[in-house]
Amino acid sequence: MPFSIQVKKLSKTYEYFKKAPGLAGSLKSLFWREKLYNEALKGISFEIEEGELVGFLGPNGAGKTTTLKILSGILYPTSGDAVVLGHAPWRREPAYQKQFSIVMGQKNQLWWDLPAQESFILNREIYEIDPGTYQHNLGELLELFDIKEIIDVPVRKLSMGQRMKCELAAALLHSPKVLFLDEPTIGLDIISQEKIRDYIREYNTIKKTTVLLTSHYMRDIERLCRRVIVINNGTIVYDGSVDDLMHSYADHKVIRLTFSHEYKEDNLGKYGEVVERSGLTVVLKASKKDIARSTATILSELPVEDLSVEEVEIEEVIRKIFNTLTPLKK
């Protein structure tokens, strides 16, 4: 299969100026400024095949968004090379721009005071979609995202989940071959998150659109992608299947309990590794395999008032990757 995206030794260094606080600092910085550098990307390389759905995972400031911005032509790279659909993104050729889309969870692209439909019409003109194709694509997207009822309501009156669905629809009207999604589920409630994930996966299956998705939610990646690229401090630390990643690094879950009354005994170790214990609350780490048995035992043996089982946080998975080995490839 041909590659949609090829990235080779891509680097990006941001320049910024150190400024002392206060008015005096501002005045001083007019004449004398110390230049500082922030290496956001340190020569990353990867390739993505046509139709793949790849997750880009990493903590805040890891370089995920910077990569997406370079690939969509928003930023110029400092060095290295990238080719998307045969184009150098930063040349911002309309021929390329008509073939991809970027949706950013934290940036609203729809007109705030107008119904989403009005933004759709604008996109039709901007992307020069012919009327027949537009009607066909619109019908399909309204159906798929279930937004027929809400596209004539002003965007500002929509819930965050509804708005994200409309954002996605607006971005897909011109049938892009490559779709960049930057934190598409950020700030959404659990149910809306699930829905957005379902839509993305379904769209990718039907249309074979190449999707590169960033997130710091493990769940997004787990549910959506077969392949994941983990990035930290501007370097790729893992590139391979999600299953492998989960098996090797996130093999346990977190159990959070609250006791109904004070519990002093020091025997919690047998239920799992104690991470934190303060007053009535305890956080335990237990193996994923026998999580059901552990919780059952805890509930029957301990004076528990409240118990929840949570996924390991991605930060921890990454920390673990770092602790176990130096950067590895698939």
């Binding site: 941001y14 400031g61 968004t65 910077t66 911005k69 969509s72 032509g73 928003i74 930023l75 110029y76 911002r92 309309p94 721009q97 008509k98 991809f100 889309s101 970027i102 950013m104 934290q106 940036k107 609203n108 692209q109 007109w111 005071d113 107008l114 009005e118 019409i121 604008l122 003109e125 901007i126 992307y127 020069e128 930057d182 934190e183």
Partner: protein
Amino acid sequence: MRQWVPEFYRTIRRYLKLYRVFLSQNLKEDMIYRSNFITLVVMDIGFVSISVILFKIIYSHVNTIAGWTFHQSVILIGSVGIIREMAYLTFRRGFLELGSHIRTGTFDIFMVRPIAPNIHLAFRHISLSESLGESIMGIILVGYGISHLDQWSWINVFLYILFLLNSLMIYYGFSLLINSVVFWVIKTQELNTILYFFMETSRYPGDVFRGIGKVIFTFIIPIGIIATVPASILIGRIGWHFAMISLIIGISFLTAGLLVWKKSIEHYSSASG
């Protein structure tokens, strides 16, 4: 040549169509705040009236200011209003919003669409209401001024409109140059205040500036001639050579503005997220 002409024609047609669609969306947005709309129009008419009254008072003591009679000055004031509305109907508010787009990173959107960022920025913020009252007053004042001129012809009116467009071009080129700075320095609100201040000075005939002042206001900061040239052409008090110079200035500013803007955009560093 054969390929270049239809391509050019196609681009113009595409942008005209885009303008129409964007204008209609902007109007819909404007209409949501209708009371605001009416207030703006009324306030504008008030402000223009005040400046006409001021001129009336000054002219009750003198017959001409730098060779301009009262009715000629009325044409000048009217022309400023018309140019300002033309600017608001095209690019002006886009530049006012540019700083905030850059600070919050929403300028990203202008970078990824298959439409030139400067045109997208302009069309995204077309404003009819911002200066509507002033332009209505402007047309009335120019009409009133013309009717009191000793002589005028339709050719002058045609040239007047042509040079209004030239002034708009100068204004646009100048705005592009000034606003390009935003890609290096984040806050441009102050810059636009300066620009607005210069627009204010264009209410007074360019002739009141002498010596070095005239040089600065004509060549370095061209706002001084923005309204003066078309108004002078209408009342027939300007030579061909000066009109030609003004056209050359227009084309130079637009070209320089577009080049600098294009280069500056590469410096866009987005808001990190």
